[in-house]
Symmetry: C2
Subunit: 728 residues, 2 copies
């Protein structure tokens, strides 16, 4: 009963702070803790403390009074309005504002999180976990809503498609940033239906390397990318976050070099010279080249070894040696990637960006470069080096492996180069590996490995405590002090404290890279989309499970886009138009590649097809963009309606002043004034300036009409007269 | 004296309407005239009528009272603010608003023009010259300010560079749209200094077709285009028109197909189905193809004839026949271009756009295509058809001119194909022709021809009236009725009525096309920029003279950009990266072109250089864009300052409400409340929900600190204890 209740209630806790004092001496730890609790109290948060595991405290936080929270919410909404995120200002009466538009859970959690972490100058408590001053605060997390999580997973696992309401639900619970990931994946999944069906038909009817498939696929990729941009706007309006990326959030890690007076606001701002940052950014170039060189040479080496062993080498231990390159890759690739990612993060930190958004863009770009190399280079090598130049290059591989010679007969070895023929199925096999095997492995790694890890970890803990009990020692089990009523709840909190932090960009990256295979290489194996659609159905559910079970509840951040990944998507679509046309030209003759000698490939024809394909793609993209920009959508309509109402109200308010002016028509007619002004006007004709005299010659519009009438009549007479004369 | 006074005063006239009744019968003409004057009076405009030339009336218009004008100005400024063109709302007191920010002349004229032409539903008089209902209203124009014009031309003709103040001056007089043209041309002129100097050095040191020159030139083109975009924003902020292109002006010619209720505003709006428009827009494709085919075949034919006659043909009359193609082009090209331009206008009208902006974009695109063909195709033909394939194609030209054979000796004629060698200087000569001769001719056409025309016209009129006088007939000279005081003024008005209407887009097009030569072909002849810088210095002055003397005073429209020409500029820069690399590859071997046989050109190398150059350009452009986006400017600062002030004010206004809430710190500390709540809390521990009991265990932050302290101390003790145990 206690357990189910523990799952039912979160004890009204908004956030839990883990305070770990293992590495701090007692006195400092106590002082720091007091400081922490005081800081939280100063921004209107109530606190409770309980024992945590291994020299840590669990500090529970909730708002002291709802009134404060409403104040904060109102302040946040006004800020949104001032930044243009909302069309209309929230009503001035706070209570009314909240009744009109109730808080959703993610908004509530976000605002409390900001209250805890925002700098003191901006009205927050300034608590930044693990950062200077708050090194003891290990993490801040909200508690899972287990009831909701259970329903969520149950619902998703029994439905094929997610509705917009499902996405709204995620947004209300987990915030817009995560909701955007799910919306993107769902949109991508829905869009995949077409290439899956079409790809399957193409696989049956057209075979591989069909130009027709390539064109349809390029159009699809382009439409999907552009449509997602359209949908993103729609969703951001629906969720009321359009433009939040414009609200700049300062990075606390930003180190300023000097302080200047902002010419705009007159405030003192911290500054870092742009030229200095540019110099640092230029380091990206050697970094990208070095990464490409390191990863590229590892991949190329393994590739070379593999080709050599499987297709040239015929010595002893072949069956074992075949696994050598895979082994090397499996061991070294993650290590290298880890090192390079760390390096990329360091480099981005060194570039010292002022805002979170700029930092994230810079980091994402670097990560994308790394992933681009590791994901696509092996296939690119096969397609554009191995197949066309295989017969030339492969014999040279022998040079690096002279050691093998003694084992082989001399004759045979010498014959090999001539006997070598490229393996035409290698490319397809590789694409299948990356689009099926690797995806499944990935999915498994995401769900099953953490599960096993968690199981193992809890077993280990149990064993440890049992051993400790056997030894008779009082193991520092924090749960001993728990009151029975809270025990189940606290044990749940302690478990959640051990979980990892969910990073949505990792999942987004995975989807974007998957899209890349479709855009770049699916012409090799049209069933690619079929594999992806199955994988993504599971991926969406697996991610939901991951968030619910294997990770701490994520902090609900706002976003109005999937961010820099959008550029990656566009880039992959563009690059796809190049690779696909090249693949089609190189391999479409028999679906198996050219005869293996580069002479049968016309370089000019290859380049021409790339050139034409790329430009056709650019024209297509322009057309799709124009067409999609014409589409209307509920979100856009909503936005326009809101802006229209605001505009109308302002206009009416401001022009009420206008009504005090005399009406145009009254003054223009001035028929009644005539008699009054008559004499004054006639007399003034003699004395006034030429301008006055000019304008006083005709009084009012009626007289102008009269005079004009006279001119017209006279003109006609003149004409008649001249005609009469001519006749004479 | 009368003459100089006529030049000095405009009699306070704001606009002159020409009412021509030559084709209307007397009664209708009078009725219509009355209607016209009444309509003007109804919007608060005072009128005076005088006799015009040839069955026309001059209807003078000015505002009846300044109060009305101020009302209209205020209304216009509020509309700007509501559309986001102004950051802050104008002060509610009209008089105050105008004192803070006085009217400039162009604003005054624009507002009165809108008052005359805006539909009645929008508060205007709804008078649309030459449109249905107002066919008799031939034109509406403002009168020149001759004093100012004289000063303007004098000042410009004695200065090398125009300052921003000079441009401000134009904006104040002629409105932002024309000011943007001058600003663009001035900016282009300033930027030309670099390629002129560099081009001259390159011409001396590097010769033609230098790859180095090509790269520098591409960078320059790219920087110029991107910098202009940056500058445009700056200028539009300076002139307070940023965002005016967002204010959509309905076209009166728009024909709706059905009326629907706008889902946003609830108003009934006129609608034209987008799909139907798309179908009509698709006609652009056959139009572009047909235009390309017609103009292209004319150009190619003349080109072929010219090449044949000058380089193959050796028969009689050669010296005369050489001029044949030029003659054909001179006669047929303007005719064809005229027909196609009319057709493009018709097509654009048929596409039935709702707003002026959309109409202008659509028309500009078509005009650009036409101009692209006529301006660049001849050079493209020479560079990419004549030179590489000349030896193959030229002999075939003979086939079309068998008629020449009888005149020539048979032997000689048969030898010719073998003897033919391409003329390597043809390309350079052609580029020089287009960048020097054609520019000078153009400038002359713009200034001198209209001058001669005007002179001839006035001579003709004089002769005619003299002849009429000789015949004793009373020629319908309208000036006979003029009072002596007004005679000079009215004669000036009658002269201005005869002048043409200035169209700024023609001048803009000229500049953009000129830029195209620089971007596309200047590698052929690096002195191009030197020619342009001289030409443009004169062009700027000639345009000023043209506006002042040869054209009616233009209506001051607003704009915040040079509009669709910006896209043309970007396109030409991009296309330049393709042509330039191709030219360098084809001709850089000896500066004279390859040996004339296509076999020496490697197609793959050509395509590869194009491919690399284009992508290098795209990367460069991206870099330049990023770099320029970092630049700050006075305009941007001004805008940010204004928005900041508005934001600050709103924020303060709205958050004053917040101060009524209890302060965070007060509630958070809740030390004073402690004793009061103590008992209530203790007692509730037994009865409340688990949540309440959880949160009431520690009272206030001080108790949390105390409890936490206890845990910390205990934990340390535990550790010490276990350590002691281990030691045992």
């Amino acid at each position: 009963m206690a357990k189910s209740q523990a799952l039912q209630t979160n004890m009204d806790v908004e956030y839990v702070l883990i305070y770990r004092f293992a590495k701090t001496d007692k006195a400092t730890a106590i002082a720091k803790f007091e400081q922490l609790v005081q800081a939280l109290a100063s921004v209107g948060l109530a606190t409770e403390v309980r024992n945590g595991e291994k020299h840590s405290l669990l500090l529970f936080v909730r708002v002291a009074s709802e009134e404060h929270l409403f104040g904060e919410v109102y302040r946040s909404r006004v800020r949104d309005w001032v930044h243009g995120v909302r069309a209309a200002a929230p009503p001035k009466e706070t209570r009314e504002a909240l009744e009109n538009e109730p808080l959703y859970e993610a908004e509530r959690l976000r605002i409390i999180y900001q209250l805890i972490t925002n700098p003191v100058s901006e009205g927050g408590a300034g608590i930044t976990p693990k950062e200077d001053g708050w090194k003891e605060v290990e993490s801040i997390f909200a508690l899972h809503d287990h009831e909701y999580n259970k329903d969520w997973i149950k619902k998703w696992s029994t439905s094929y498609f997610l509705t917009t309401e499902d996405l709204d639900d995620i947004r209300n619970r987990l915030g817009e940033k995560i909701a955007f990931y799910f919306a993107f994946t769902q949109s991508y999944f829905t869009f995949l239906v077409f290439p899956a069906v079409f790809g399957f038909s193409a696989w049956l009817l057209l075979g591989h390397f069909s130009a027709f498939y390539a064109i349809v696929n390029a159009v699809w990729c382009c439409v999907f990318t552009e449509y997602w941009k359209h949908q993103e706007v729609d969703l951001s309006v629906r969720w009321g976050v359009r433009g939040v990326s414009r609200i700049e959030v300062k990075r606390q890690e930003f180190a300023h070099e000097k302080e200047i007076t902002d010419p705009v606001t007159g405030e003192t701002v911290q500054m870092f010279p742009a030229t200095k940052r540019l110099q640092r950014q230029l380091l990206q170039l050697p970094f990208a080249l070095a990464a490409a060189a390191i990863l590229g040479s590892l991949i190329a080496t393994c590739f070379g070894i593999e080709v050599f062993i499987s297709e040239v080498y015929d010595g002893p231990l072949k069956s074992l040696l075949v696994f050598l390159p895979t082994g090397i890759l499996t061991i070294f690739m993650p290590i290298l990637q880890g090192i390079l990612t760390t390096f990329a993060t360091r480099l981005t930190e060194f570039e010292n960006y002022e805002t979170h958004a700029a930092y994230e863009v810079a980091l994402t770009q670097k990560i994308f470069v790394l992933n681009f190399i590791t994901s696509y280079l092996p296939i690119l090598l096969t397609a554009f080096v191995y197949v066309p130049f295989g017969t030339i290059i492969v014999p040279y591989l022998d040079v690096f492996s002279l050691a093998v010679k003694p084992f082989a007969e001399n004759e045979k070895q010498l014959e090999t180069p001539a006997a070598f023929a490229i393996n035409p199925s290698r490319l397809r096999k590789q694409v299948i590996y990356f689009t099926v095997t690797a995806q499944i492995v990935n999915l498994g790694m995401e769900v099953i490995v953490p599960y096993l890890k968690r199981q193992g970890f809890s077993k280990y803990k149990k064993m440890q405590s049992e051993r400790a009990a056997k030894n008779g020692g009082t193991a520092p089990d924090p749960s001993l002090n728990d009151t029975p009523e809270e025990a189940a709840f606290l044990s749940r909190v302690r478990n959640e404290a051990e979980l990892g932090v969910y990073d949505v960009t990792t999942d987004l990256r995975e989807m974007v890279l998957q899209f890349g295979y479709l855009s770049l290489f699916s012409v090799v194996w049209p069933l690619t989309a079929v594999s992806f659609i199955i994988n993504d159905w599971m991926e969406l559910r697996a991610d939901a499970i991951k968030i619910c079970i294997e990770m701490q509840r994520p902090i609900p951040f706002r976003a109005d886009t999937i961010g820099p990944w959008l550029d990656s998507l566009s880039f992959l679509t563009w690059f796809g138009s190049i690779t696909t046309s090249a693949l089609v030209y190189l391999f479409s003759n028999d679906g198996l590649g050219p005869d293996g000698s580069p002479s049968s490939i016309k370089a000019w024809a290859l380049l021409l097809s790339i050139f034409l394909s790329e430009h056709a793609f650019l024209v297509l993209r322009w057309g799709v963009r124009v067409a999609i920009s014409k589409l209307d959508s509920p979100g856009r309509q909503k936005e326009r309606r809101e802006r229209f109402m605001v505009r109308k109200r302002y206009f009416e308010e401001n022009l009420s002043e206008m009504s005090k002016l005399p009406k145009m028509a009254e003054a223009g007619g001035n028929i009644d004034r005539e008699s009054l002004e008559e004499d004054a006007r006639r007399s003034s004709l003699k004395t006034a300036t030429p301008e006055d005299r000019f304008w006083l010659r005709q009084r009012g519009w009626k007289e102008t009409t009269q005079v004009g009438k006279g001119y017209i009549e006279k003109a006609v007479v003149d004409d008649a007269a001249s005609e009469t004369k001519k006749e004479l």
